[in-house]
């Protein structure tokens, strides 16, 4: 189904049409031998894709002549993953990444849609920049949706032209990179956003408490002599914004939550019935502040890696529905911003291409002896989650928050049935591979899993019916 303008837009500005891939003249792709997993359930089935739609789902599909056959033996066939939190760095920082390379990295990670964060240079706080990024996304290996800034320049003072941006199809607004510090400004922004029917997303970090810190403030930071960012810097803003959500009746989404108490606050807010959603990043599901022992800036990220207890709480929150989505917070940086002293290094790590493996390892791997899990937490971890629930966190639930599901007018995350948009990924959950930063599709190399062996990999990705990743190799 082609994109449409939102019915309530009066300005007449149209969303750029996503051009179909040139060769999609009803080309047929058969995905054979996999297990289809979507919101309706799990079943052994082959999937036949014709053009940009799913044509048939059933046992033993036959491949017509000229069709591409993709082997999915031992794999899950799922709706394409949707990342609510990607830094594509274009415009302004193309050395680190651009829309094309970021989309390619996303596709390699099984993502058929990403939400590009607005902390670019210039920031996405105007229709012109939003349009530029949307146009760069046309022809990319996955769908590029755009998040707009809440305030002009992300400075936290004046509201950005959210209406103008919404007219272009922007549904999520955030100052990500920083949180909106002034509570008065945040209140106004929530009220205004409520009027537009959009969602505001917050990077929760109180600048006064977190200032000067390069890692989690706790026993490790005290041992290493590194200024820390306390958990309270996040929790204070989570609590504040929950109160504002209650006050304004607006919808709010919490980006990259990292502490146990943040999870508890969100759970309580949901129990109260507030329109609150939350995401968690893969690294906060598996890595702890102990990784900073060598002062390696690869592990420096905001919010920082926290303690074992926080990792366990994050995993539990994923299992019990407190967390709605896993979002990568893919943050590419060129070597000169990471290969330096800790205080000088930029925070952030790559995430798109390792997300599936890390998340499976953190949430779905068997926990008999604590082995097989990527990252540190031990026997206190919650029991493993079912494949469908993990994929929900990666695909259809973030799709809903981003407004991209079929019943919201989009083409992401929907059940795999005849007529559905062919945005699919094929995941081999047992494939072991070693992360080589040089061989990643991203332009940057700052992955904390460099050299480690992960389990779980995306074998194929279909975007609008086109195989953009085949046998873990990007085709475009």
């Amino acid at each position: 189904m082609p994109d449409r303008c939102r019915p309530w837009i009066r300005s007449g500005v149209t969303v750029p049409e996503v051009r179909a891939a040139p060769s999609a003249k009803r080309h047929t792709v058969v995905i054979r031998g996999g297990t289809v997993v979507d919101a309706t359930g799990e079943r052994r089935a082959d999937v036949v894709v014709s053009g940009d739609q799913v044509a048939a789902v059933g046992e033993s599909a036959s491949a017509p002549p000229g069709a591409t056959v993709l082997d999915a033996g031992g794999c899950w066939v799922a709706p394409g993953l949707v990342d609510l939190h990607t830094h594509l760095r274009e415009p302004g920082d193309e050395d680190a990444e651009n829309v094309e390379s970021g989309a390619r990295a996303a596709a390699c990670g099984g993502y058929t849609a990403v939400l590009a964060m607005p902390n670019t240079d210039p920031p996405i706080d105007s229709a012109a920049v939003a349009r530029e990024v949307l146009e760069l996304g046309v022809g990319a290996a996955c769908r590029v949706a755009v998040a707009g800034a809440i305030t002009v320049g992300r400075a936290g003072q004046r509201l950005a032209p959210m209406g103008e941006l919404a007219a272009l199809g922007v549904r999520i607004f955030t100052d990500d990179g920083t949180g909106v510090q002034d509570v008065g400004v945040m209140r106004r922004a929530l009220e205004y956003g409520r009027g537009l029917g959009v969602t505001l997303a917050q990077h929760c970090e109180d600048a006064a408490l977190a200032a000067g810190g390069h890692m989690h403030e706790g026993a490790w930071s005290s041992w290493l002599g590194v200024p820390g960012r306390p958990a309270e810097a996040e929790e204070v803003m989570v609590a504040r914004d929950i109160a504002l959500a209650r006050m304004t009746g607006a919808r709010i989404h919490f980006l990259h939550l990292s502490t146990a108490r943040s999870m508890a606050l969100v759970a309580a807010a949901k129990a109260e019935g507030l329109a609150v959603s939350a995401e968690v990043a893969p690294h906060h599901l598996s890595l702890t502040d102990a990784e900073m022992a060598g002062y390696d800036p690869l592990f420096k990220v905001n919010p920082p890696l926290r303690t074992d207890a926080d990792v366990v709480a994050a995993r539990s929150a994923c299992a019990d529905g407190t967390v709605d989505a896993v979002a990568t917070d893919h943050a590419p940086h060129p070597p000169e911003r990471k290969d330096t002293t800790l205080d000088d290094a930029a925070p952030g790590m790559l995430g798109l291409e390792t997300a599936v493996a890390v998340v499976l390892g953190a949430l779905a791997a068997p926990v008999a002896d604590g082995g097989g899990r990527t990252g540190g937490a031990g026997p206190r971890t919650p029991p493993p989650m079912a494949a469908r629930d993990v994929l929900a966190l990666l695909s259809w639930r973030p799709a809903r928050i981003a407004g991209l599901t079929p019943d919201q007018g989009g083409d992401q995350g929907g059940p795999i049935a005849p007529g559905a948009a062919a945005n699919l990924c094929v995941i081999d959950p047992t494939h072991r591979w070693q992360v080589d930063p040089v061989r990643l599709a991203s332009r940057s190399r700052n992955t904390p899993w460099a050299g480690r062996t992960l389990t779980g990999r995306v074998r194929h990705t279909l975007y609008r019916g086109e195989p953009v990743v085949v046998d873990a190799e990007a085709q475009r």
Binding site: G218, A219, G225, G294, D344
Partner: protein, 391 residues
């Protein structure tokens, strides 16, 4: 050294304690420190002095012992030995510090090493060259050791990853200042020896067992405090931290077992060593206090407080002293104040550290056996007659 090598994390668990990348670390509960022998062994493998914790009791004792010899060198008419002739030692000081830099430069020169000094404000880093590029460029000129002071914790560790030379940590952010802790231990041992009427070289590190030390002041921001507490705790001293509430580290879970007090007057009558920390006003410590006056009223060593100290107790300060703030003017000049001796010992201790890193191979209990071989041990064999690593 390839770039990917430098970044591959080598987190590992060692038996008997949690060790990552050779660093010991805290649990979420009480501190678990790896076995001392294990750390001393690891330290012997190293070519760097990044943390005083890496030395272990053996290592600290070795440094003190070797420093005795260098104290004697310092007393000569020409205080110079050819031990490190032909070696190059480079000071990379990204933080202003004339005293420490001069102390290291003097130490290197007295060992006959060639010295280069490199200070941030004048360097090409201002033009955008990164620390890594700067250090690698300098290393390419042929450098045996870097002495690194930097406002970021872990910077000397990063330099050690990037170059082949030995690296001495001359102070990294809030983390450590190992040579300061060593010269402080040397000064304490010297004072204790004098008290007992013995020569320092006849006094082993047993003199530290049960010693009562108060570390007073801005502990939160003090790398001198951290290194000092690590060294003293390893040697068996009992340390009490005394600081205003806002200048205590956010978590003591990462520290060796120490006592904590907010009341200096209560602590002073029961200490053997009163170690005063500098109020780091240039690092914003002033923002943590209502006023400097209030600080010195409650935590300054005034003449009245100095009288609370036991007769034999000594007063120490890493310098430079803020007279009238941490320490009253007249107290600084009392005989019990050994501040000037700390400075004098600093050169000898830094000579010992440089000599042990560059000239001696690593310190440790095997060192005694090795050096009795003497230069007369015979021609240096091209092949180890026992085949393989004799250690």
């Amino acid at each position: 050294m390839s770039r990917t090598d430098a970044r591959t994390p080598t987190a590992r668990r060692a038996p008997g304690g949690r060790v990552r990348d050779g660093h010991a670390g805290p649990e979420d509960g009480p501190l678990v420190v790896p076995e001392p022998e294990e750390r001393a062994r690891a330290a012997r493998e190293r070519r760097h002095l990044l943390s005083v914790g890496d030395l272990g009791v053996e290592g600290i004792a070795d440094v003190l012992r070797v420093s005795d010899s260098f104290v004697e060198v310092g007393r000569r008419a020409i205080p110079k030995v050819p031990a490190l002739r032909g070696r190059t030692v480079v000071m990379v000081f990204a933080e202003e510090s004339t005293r420490t830099r001069l102390s290291f430069e003097t130490a290197a020169k007295r060992l006959s090493a060639d010295v280069m000094s490199f200070s941030w404000a004048t360097s090409s880093t201002k033009k955008g060259e990164s620390l890594r590029d700067t250090v690698e460029t300098v290393a390419a000129m042929g450098v045996d050791a870097f002495v690194v002071r930097h406002p970021s914790a872990g910077a000397p560790a990063a330099v050690a990853r990037w170059v082949d030379a030995s690296v001495v940590n001359a102070g990294d952010g809030w983390h450590e200042h190992p040579t300061q802790a060593l010269l402080d231990c040397y000064t304490i041992r010297q004072a204790l020896a004098e008290r007992a009427g013995r020569a320092p070289e006849e006094t082993g590190v047993e003199c530290f067992a049960g010693l009562r030390v108060a570390v007073v002041g801005d502990v939160r921001h003090s790398r001198v405090a951290r290194s000092g507490v690590l060294a003293l705790s390893a040697l068996g001293a009992r340390v009490t931290l005394v600081a205003p509430g806002s200048l205590v580290p956010p978590s003591l879970a990462g520290w060796p077992p120490v006592s904590l007090s907010y009341d200096l007057d209560a602590v002073l009558p029961d200490v053997d060593v009163c170690y005063l920390l500098r109020l780091q006003t240039e690092r914003g410590a002033g923002a943590f206090l209502p006023s400097v006056r209030e600080y010195s009223a409650h935590y300054g060593l005034t003449a009245r407080r100095a009288r609370l100290l036991p007769e034999d107790a000594i007063v120490m300060h890493p310098g430079p002293m803020n007279r009238g703030i941490e320490i009253a003017d007249d107290v600084a000049d009392l005989p019990r104040s050994v501040v000037l001796r700390q400075v004098a010992n600093g050169v000898a201790v830094r000579m010992a550290v440089l000599f042990m890193l560059l000239g001696a191979g690593a310190p440790g209990p095997d060192a005694a056996t090795a050096s009795t071989a003497g230069p007369d041990a015979g021609p240096v064999p091209a092949v180890d007659p026992l085949g393989g690593d004799g250690a």
